[in-house]
């Protein structure tokens, strides 16, 4: 793609087909680089956690501490937002957190593909959360779950508006949840690529360009640090919001 001095900041998001699986029912299916990274993430997480805890030692080593830390971090987040009852969703929240975190972190490796920079992936994860909330809410509380949209202590004439606002706010949750993660990863990676592109182009233009490239170089270094922060923070935000939404399914009614 990047031929000559043309640097394409969008190229890193390209889906590349590895194995074509034909078009069953007119739908194009293929095993892609995205799928390979997804399975790579799953394998990485699983092998790390099992390898780190292989000794099952009473006094943990470094890797085991890290595995225990991730467990206790997510567990305390779930307990803090959704209470002890929320622990039944702990495997789901942990899987979401570790998947998003690992995907974001793997995406920081040069030439690696960032799974979470695709809207369809983040939207699917957000829908998984919201559908879990809706289905569990109705199974557990029946129609009482709808009290989620009826705030208590509101004057009767305001109630219809409040219900409309609550419904809109509920429906916008999966959108904000998926867009936040997607946009953060996309924008961050594009910004890094653009500034890195400046360096390449300026150095190519001669000795004066080498001095000109110093500023974008600092920018890229700073952006890389920022992106690591964003990668971890967005995974945490995703997990915390999941917990807060699950809390609505566990305890509807304000």
């Amino acid at each position: 793609m990047a031929s000559g001095s043309v640097i394409d900041p969008i190229h890193q998001f390209q889906i590349i087909k590895i194995v074509e699986l034909g078009q069953p029912g007119g739908v194009e299916l293929a095993f892609t680089n995205s799928a390979a990274f997804m399975f790579g993430i799953v394998a990485l997480v699983f092998f790390f956690l099992t390898f780190a805890t292989r000794g099952r030692t009473l006094v943990p080593g470094r890797l085991q501490s890290l595995a225990e830390l991730s467990y206790e971090f997510v567990a305390s987040t779930v307990r803090g937002s959704a209470g002890n009852e929320g622990m039944k969703f702990f495997p789901l929240v942990f899987s979401l957190f570790i998947f998003v975190l690992t995907a974001n972190m793997v995406g920081m490796i040069p030439y690696a593909f960032t799974v979470t920079s695709h809207l369809i992936v983040t939207a699917a994860l957000a829908l998984l959360v919201i559908l879990t909330v809706i289905i569990y809410g109705f199974v557990r509380h029946g129609t009482h779950f709808l009290h989620l949209f009826v705030p208590s202590g509101v004057p009767a004439f305001l109630l219809p508006f409040m219900v409309v606002i609550e419904v809109i706010s509920f429906l916008s949750r999966p959108i904000s949840l998926s867009l936040r993660l997607f946009a953060n990863m996309l924008a961050g990676h594009i910004a890094m690529k653009v500034f890195a592109g400046f360096i390449v182009m300026m150095t190519a233009s001669g000795v004066v360009g080498w001095f000109g490239a110093v500023l974008p170089l600092f920018m890229v270094v700073a952006l890389t640090a920022l992106e690591f922060l964003v990668a971890a923070l967005q995974a945490y935000v995703f997990a915390v919001l999941t917990c807060i939404y699950l809390n609505d399914a566990l305890h509807p009614g304000h």
Binding site: S5, V6, I7, D8, P9, I10, F13, I15, L21, V27, E28, L29, F31, T32, S34, A35, M38, F39, V42, V45, F46, L49, T50, T53, R56, L58, P60, Q64, A67, E68, Y71, E72, F90, P91, L92, F94, S95, I98, F99, H118, L119, I120, V121, A124, L125, L128, L179, R180, F182, A183, N184, L186, A187, G188, I190, V194, G197, F198, M201, V237
Partner: protein
Amino acid sequence: MSEPHGPAGIIVAQASPGTLPAASGVEIAVPAAEAHGSNFPPFDVHTFPSQLLWLVIAFAALYLLMSRVALPRIATILEERHDRIADDIEEAGKLKAESEAAAEAYEKALASARTKAHGIATETRDTLAAEAETRRKSLEADLNVKLAAAEVQIAATKTAAMANVRGIAVEAAGTIVNTLIGTTPTSGAVEEAVDTAIKG
């Protein structure tokens, strides 16, 4: 949380067919549309079914591996450690209670021994005092008996001496009368005179 980078994503999405606004001065071009319909990969709907399919499979696998294998494993480790610490604290508490009981028993034994020693000392002192008293009393009685005997003897001696005094007086009176007048009075008269004198 707000979406700090939300607008950036949208701008990029809108600007994707042409040149990036941020990079308008530099030659950063987006390549022309590829075989797929869209030229911005995240919005290329042709890739959605594949991505969804593999995401569902991968995430389901991750969920199963986490919930069945990895998380129970870590939970067991944490639980074992928690139990072990609780056990150790309990054991320490038990030992502490035991040592406290032993210390208490020791204090009690010490106190009872002290009381017993005190009792023995008192008893011994009382016994010795009583013994001394008895001995003193018997000694006193003995002395009293001896004193009484001595008094009796003194009285007897005194009586005897008094009796001797009469005899000597009679004899001396007779001798004195003889010396004075040259005649010896009859013993009867002298005795009578002496008796009168003694009585007077």
